[in-house]
């Protein structure tokens, strides 16, 4: 105690000395003033030090009285600081959080997945085929994420394909510092179209996407663009947002987007959500995606059995209505819980369809094309015991109405567009999974897939999904 007050005194004197030194050329009056000031300073300091000493003594006394309780937050904070200080600090301390998702499958399919198609719908060009036969490594995901500075957070998700390809699934920055419920992101991200599209495949409840996601979004739509979202200041959850994108994937076209300035796709969405008591939480969403595809191509075989490339140019408008409901007794999902989920897709396309744009068969011919198609799925997943879940999903696509000018005008036969022939695919899927911990999951899935007209496919899939590294966070 004496040491500290002596130290403070000598500091005050030293400070005074410094004032003297800088003022060596001053007059006597100035010096007198300065002396007076130093004296005052010294007195001030002494008074304050005395007061501090008194307070310290008082604090010590009261601390002594309450010896059983060391309630001084400062002491605790110091001890905590000690704990933190004992941790070795290396260059790696500022590395982004890293996590790795690994998955592998065993598939037993009654039909060759290479011949997979979804009849009645223009192929979306995405990774829509079912899992491969036999043992395969699935897609691995490498996630790197960290805060950039007080304003931004960056996330990169690389997908490492079993076929030795590397792709960017997501790579975006998002704001941390905006207020009033606003958030913005830029880069590549899973588009806010419907519910499941924004969720990473490793967190899906089934080993594959719904048929509707396959035909309307090319399995999963990741868009290059910007997103702005606003959350309303109400107890009932409401958000609304907009995404402007490059149009790099189906339903826009061509692949990787058009070579033009401006916007290639626009999506608006809104969600409403809340709780019913403590047991149930729900969310509904509506989104609308508009694109102007140019030369969006797909492969088909014409009436002569020759492989041709057809291409569509025009406009595509997609509406998606989604709903999710999660139930758990008292909101405690660890023992039992139920998740219901469904989405309805409706799409209008209009423009021109070019038959055999590559001139492989009878040469390019162009005609008007329009279609109004829809599809939906509904699924239920129930955790019937800790670690065990079972689920069922029903998929249905409605071929709806479509008109091909080349066919109605008699220039080509309907058989020249076999994949577009009117057909409404369905699929039934059952699954059961076991999660040894929240970081690992094994899943057995059986599907009866009637995507191909007149050729049902029985698919059995055994899958593991494991996540390593930084703790993941999952959307509702």
């Amino acid at each position: 105690m004496f040491q500290s007050s002596n130290f403070a005194r000598s500091m005050a004197i030293a400070a005074g000395f410094a004032v003297f030194q800088s003022a060596h050329a001053a007059t006597d009056d100035d010096l007198k003033d300065l002396r007076e000031q130093v004296k005052q300073l010294r007195e001030q300091y002494e008074r304050r030090i005395d007061a501090l000493e008194k307070r310290l003594q008082q604090a010590e006394q009261s601390a002594g009285k309450a010896e059983a309780v060391a309630t001084k937050a400062e002491f605790a904070a110091q001890e905590v600081a000690l704990q933190a200080g004992s941790r070795p600090v290396s260059e790696g301390a500022m590395n982004p959080g890293i996590s790795l998702i690994m998955n592998g499958t065993y598939g037993n399919l009654s039909r060759d997945p290479a011949t997979y198609r979804i009849n009645g719908f223009a192929p979306s060009g995405g990774e829509v085929a079912p899992i491969g036969r036999g043992l395969s490594l699935g897609e691995s995901e490498l996630v790197l994420a960290a805060n950039v500075d007080p304003n931004f957070r960056g996330t990169l998700i690389a997908k490492l394909g079993a076929d030795d390809t590397v792709g960017i699934e997501e790579g975006f920055i998002q704001t941390l510092g905006l207020s009033n419920g606003l958030t913005a992101r830029a880069g590549r991200f899973l588009a806010g179209v419907g519910y499941l599209n924004e969720i990473h495949p490793h967190a899906w409840d089934f080993a594959d996407a719904p048929l509707a996601s396959k035909v309307f979004l090319g399995n999963q739509l990741g868009e290059d663009g910007v997103q702005v979202k606003w959350v309303a200041p109400t107890d009932l959850y409401f958000d609304a947002g907009m995404e402007l994108g490059r149009g790099r994937k189906f339903p826009a076209g061509p692949d990787n987007g058009r070579n033009k300035n401006g916007i290639g796709s626009a999506n608006v969405f809104a969600h409403l959500g809340g709780d019913i008591g403590t047991d149930t939480a729900w969310q509904v969403g509506l989104s609308h995606l508009r694109t102007q595809p140019r030369d969006r191509t797909y492969q088909d075989a014409d009436a002569a059995g020759i492989n041709v490339t057809n291409s569509f140019s025009g406009s595509s408008r997609l509406w998606v209505l989604s709903g999710v409901l999660k139930w758990a007794p008292q909101g405690n999902s660890t023992i039992n819980n139920l998740k219901l989920q469904g989405e309805y897709f409706s799409r209008d396309e209009g423009g021109d369809l070019v038959y055999d744009s590559g001139g492989a068969s009878r040469g390019a011919q162009s005609g008007a094309y329009s279609s109004k198609q829809s599809g939906w799925y509904g699924q239920a997943v129930y955790q019937f015991a800790p670690q065990w879940r079972a689920g069922y999903r029903y998929d249905r696509l409605n071929a709806g109405s479509s008109s091909i000018g080349l066919v109605s005008g008699g220039a080509r036969l309907a058989a020249d567009f076999p994949v577009l022939e009117r057909y409404s695919p369905t699929r039934n899927t059952w699954m059961i999974d076991w999660s040894g911990s929240e970081f690992s999951r094994w899943r057995l899935q059986f599907a009866q897939d009637k995507s191909r007209a007149g050729a049902p496919d029985n698919q059995v899939a055994l899958q593991y999904i494991m996540s390593l590294g930084a703790h993941g966070v999952h959307k509702f």
Binding site: A76, L178, D235, H471, F476
Partner: protein
């Protein structure tokens, strides 16, 4: 001129009306911090508890309702130490509320103000769901509640300086009552000193440390993994050689494993409220510890 006057009257009235409606909106991740914020803030705060005592706070969905509540919060009070790692970060990024961003005054992590136990020497998930920052269940030691109360009261005073006096006096009154209760609890718990207990999850380490109990084992084979028959059989063997006084589990745990072991080992199982709302008596923080110690004493008879 008249318009100006009526405008100033309006502004003056609005200013008068403000304090009543401008209570600090507190978003508490856990019921214990909700209760504490209510004790310290009184009518100057409105408190929303994101979870209940019957939920496992490790596994909470980032529900829309939670995002909506965080959107308008002035102060987020959570445990930290990765307890909420699976859902809190999402709420923070989705809610678009810069007031409660980590590092700002509106973000309060209780675990930063206490000394944490069980900081793992080996960080490896083969050891279960380990928390790198140490055991996060800090509030089961009542002394920690006092430490957090001091820090939280100071934080409330900082973000709502106009009511700093109120917070200071409420905190003084609360701590005085708490110290008296602490002395009582410690006295009541004297017979438990050295008692061997079986826990469900290691969310009782701070209580064990505080009251001088001895953890003889846990129903979970590894932290965060549900009990397995093999592990329970092993525990039963241990209990036959060296019996424990009581088996404890939390209100949110599945009671079956504790009942199974209790039945076969003839050791009483006691459900502890774990946090505010976990039992009828645990209506507030005082009731929580009254009931916890009463149930421990009854179980360990």
């Amino acid at each position: 001129m008249k318009a100006t006057t009526s405008f100033s009257v309006f502004v003056a009235l609005a200013c008068l009306a403000l304090p009543a409606s401008a209570a600090v909106s507190v978003f508490a991740c856990e019921p214990e911090w909700a209760a504490l914020a209510q004790e310290l803030g009184g009518d100057r705060v409105t408190v929303y508890a994101a979870t209940t005592a019957l939920q496992d706070v490790h596994h909470i969905e980032a529900r829309p309702s939670l995002i909506a509540r965080m959107r308008s919060a002035d102060l987020v009070v959570c445990t930290g130490a990765e307890l909420e790692a699976g859902w809190l970060p999402l709420l923070l990024t989705q809610s678009g509320n810069a007031r409660v961003r980590p590092g700002s005054d509106g973000y309060f992590e209780a675990s930063q103000f206490v000394v944490k136990l069980e900081i793992p020497k080996l960080l490896d998930r083969s050891q279960g769901d380990v928390h790198p920052g140490g055991n996060p269940h800090i509030h089961t030691d009542a002394r920690n509640v006092a430490r957090v109360a001091e820090a939280l009261s100071a934080r409330l005073a900082k973000i709502d300086a106009a009511n700093a006096q109120v917070y200071a006096s409420r905190s003084g009154a609360f701590l005085a009552r708490w110290r008296a209760a602490l002395a009582r609890w410690e006295h009541e718990a004297q017979p438990l000193k050295g008692a061997r207990i079986i826990v469900y999850h290691r969310d009782w380490s701070y209580l064990i440390n505080w009251l001088g109990l001895v953890e003889a084992g846990s129903l979970e084979p590894k932290p965060g993994l549900p009990p397995t028959p093999g592990h329970l059989a092993e525990l039963l063997g241990l209990m036959q050689r060296e019996p424990a006084r009581v088996i404890i589990y939390s209100a949110y745990n599945d009671p079956r494993a504790a009942a199974f072991l209790s039945e076969r080992s003839k050791i009483a199982a006691a459900m502890l409220p774990y946090t505010v709302g976990g039992s009828d008596r645990a209506k507030d923080l005082f009731g929580l510890f009254d009931d916890t110690i009463a149930r421990l004493l009854a179980g360990a008879k």
